[in-house]
């Protein structure tokens, strides 16, 4: 019965959503004024989940930076007498097969994950912004070409392509960063292009053009600041996605190489001992989960704080 009372006249969106455009749907209003920074923070602060996410991200960054200070152990110190010890007073998260302290390795794993996540997202966002700006600002042939290339990239299963490339050129942290970065730019390009398309018609852009500004200056000084918000939100969530991708690749043996501490590698290491030493698998697994979750919450919080109209 409840359905009848809720009938306001809103027609559902018709037609097919274009591929990849399951977007965050932000800031459609033309030339809407950017919210002042203080307002954004005030709204963000009121969102409990977002604040929890931010707290976790802060803790992760600190853990990664201060790993040598926080733990008395060397992440690579092998102690075969202490093989696969359960969590306890000395080894908080227990030890792995080689007797390495898992708490320490999870901390250093945060270093690896955040490095890969952040640098991969910087690459993906840079490519996406340039592609989106060129396609949206110039339109015409450039637009068609760039969007076709985007379509083709989107037509591949992401993880498979990453595996193929990494197996062919050899695995290392650098390779993983570049590959994840190069496979993640498409959504940024689409998102930014659609924002540029609407912002470039606004009066102040016309004014800048009339005043004789160069295209580069118009794009970077006038369009970018007004079109970047959805990209920032997406990039935040993308860090979590990149962390997840790195963990999956490392788990499969197509990512980070031992003895570097990486959560995916630790899970792979623990799989043989699920029956006797489940801690080997669950602590790094939980670390991946918490990290991804935190970036999702921060991203959601940012989205709501940047555009209160959407709530």
């Amino acid at each position: 019965m409840a359905t009848g009372t809720r009938a306001t006249s809103r027609v559902p969106a018709s037609g097919v959503t274009p591929v990849g455009a399951v977007s965050t749907g932000i800031g459609v209003a033309l030339g809407s004024r950017r919210a002042p920074r203080g307002d954004v923070w005030r709204r963000f602060r009121r969102n409990k989940l977002a604040m929890a996410g931010l707290a976790v991200v802060t803790v992760l960054v600190l853990a990664a930076l201060l790993a040598p200070v926080l733990s008395p152990f060397d992440p690579n110190a092998i102690d075969t007498n202490a093989s696969r010890q359960p969590p306890g007073a000395e080894h908080w998260f227990g030890t792995d097969l080689l007797g390495r302290d898992l708490f320490t390795r999870v901390l250093y794993g945060a270093q690896t994950s955040l490095q890969v996540g952040v640098f991969a997202v910087v690459i993906a966002t840079s490519i996406g912004l340039v592609a989106g700006a060129v396609a949206g600002y110039y339109g015409g042939k450039a637009d068609t070409l760039i969007m076709r290339v985007t379509d083709v990239f989107l037509a591949f299963p992401y993880l498979l392509l990453a595996i193929a490339v990494i197996v062919a050129i050899g695995r290392s942290k650098g390779t993983v960063i570049v590959v994840i970065g190069f496979l993640g730019w498409m959504a940024v390009a689409r998102l930014f292009r659609s924002r540029v398309l609407s912002v470039k018609e606004v009066e102040y852009v016309e004014a800048a053009r009339a005043a004789g500004c160069s295209d580069l200056r118009i794009i970077t000084r006038h369009i970018l600041p007004n079109a970047i918000q959805p990209v920032i939100v997406y990039a935040t969530v993308l860090v979590g996605t990149a962390v997840l991708a790195e963990a999956a690749l490392s788990f499969l043996g197509a990512g980070i190489v031992e003895p570097t501490a990486a959560w995916g590698l630790m899970v792979a290491d623990g799989r043989r001992f699920l029956f006797t030493s489940p801690h080997m698998l669950f602590f790094p697994g939980a670390a991946i989960f918490v990290t991804v979750m935190a970036f999702v919450f921060v991203g959601d919080g940012l989205r709501d704080a940047l555009d209160p109209k959407l709530r």
């Binding site: 359905t3 009938a7 006249s9 027609v11 399951v22 037509a155 993880l159 197996v167």
Partner: protein
């Protein structure tokens, strides 16, 4: 309608060409020495190197190799293993069916469970079920599928055994078991006990995404005028929701299911590895461990091409759900 289908079909050769070319570039042109990979860690004498290069045509110019690669693919030759000279096409023949069965069940779970929970959650908004759905779908998306797989294994394969819980809660967690099926994908002879855990693990993330999307589109549809009309003419809530609501809310969900197949294929590699399910994913994992590049690339190519064709089918199926979509119109793209 015709012109849309034609345009969509025309995209297929382009995508297949793109896939083959990308993998060719990855394999033949990028840094990395195929001869060294073939031989292993040992040093390679010049004569041996020359022989190997001649055998695989590596001494020829790139475009000649590219043409040769295409000719091989055209005859169904996907390359052969560096490790044991086994042909990739025979690996596909041995493992393809197992992968297809697991993936089919995962998609079934995704569609049935995802849509049901989404609809229930929308109709009973703010109820306990809705809250539970929202929390669990949010969390599931952040759990790596391989960690979830091991959680399942621990819960049903270790915990239930260690605590003497009833028989029906205990599941085998490794391998495919009797490998016994009828009508290709219906499990028989207790096969289902081996199928349940990997199928649910593989379906997990997609199911969460479908449930969320279903909930939000259903909420939107519930507010539509035609829903009020349907209520007003005296249909039961059940009829209104299922007949008028579901069909209209399905369109974005079908789009999502199509888009999500790419992620599902990636997850399948992980899930099969976790459960030791003898499919193409496990074969890819084995090949990664032995640095067997041709096997990895051959299997990836097969999966990518399969994905391209499945996506084509999904795109063409929109018309079944929404008669308003006329494929010829500009709005359809």
């Amino acid at each position: 309608m015709g012109s849309y289908i034609l345009r969509r079909l025309a995209l297929v050769p382009l995508l297949v060409w793109g896939a083959v070319t990308v993998l060719f570039v990855v394999f033949f042109v990028m840094p990395g020495d195929p001869v060294q990979q073939l031989v292993g860690e040992r040093a390679v004498p010049e004569t041996v190197r020359a022989n190997i290069e001649a055998r695989y045509g590596l001494d020829r110019p790139v475009w000649v190799q590219y043409g040769r690669y295409w000719r091989q693919l055209a005859t169904g030759d996907l390359g052969e293993s560096y490790q044991n000279r086994r042909e990739v096409s025979s690996i596909v023949a041995d493992t393809g069916a197992a992968s297809l069965r697991l993936a089919t069940w995962a998609v079934l779970i995704e569609v049935v469970v995802g849509i049901t929970t989404g609809v229930v959650s929308a109709v009973r908004r703010y109820s306990f079920v809705d809250a539970l759905t929202t929390v669990s779908t949010t969390m599931l998306v952040a759990v790596p599928v391989f960690v979830l797989g091991y959680l399942f294994q621990y819960a049903f394969g270790v915990f239930t055994f260690q605590n003497d819980l009833p028989e029906w809660l205990r599941f085998p967690v490794q391998g495919i078991g009797p490998d016994s099926w009828t009508l290709f994908f219906l499990p028989t002879n207790g096969q289902w006990r081996y199928l349940v855990l990997p199928a649910f693990a593989l379906a997990s993330v997609s199911t969460a995404l479908v449930a969320r999307m279903m909930r939000s589109t259903m909420l939107e549809v519930l507010r539509a005028d035609y829903m009020r009309t349907a209520m007003a003419k005296g249909l039961s809530e059940r009829q209104v929701v299922l007949r008028h609501g579901l069909r209209n809310a399905m369109i974005p969900v079908v789009t999502l299911i199509g888009l999500d197949l790419g992620i599902l294929i990636g997850s399948a590699v992980l899930t099969e590895t976790v459960f030791n399910w003898p499919g193409m994913g496990t074969a890819i994992f084995a090949a990664i461990l032995t640095q067997d590049a041709p096997v990895v690339l051959g299997l990836v190519l097969v999966l990518v091409v399969a994905y391209i064709f499945i996506n084509l089918l999904v795109d063409l199926s929109y018309g079944l759900f929404d008669p308003r979509i006329r494929y010829g119109d500009e709005g359809a793209r």
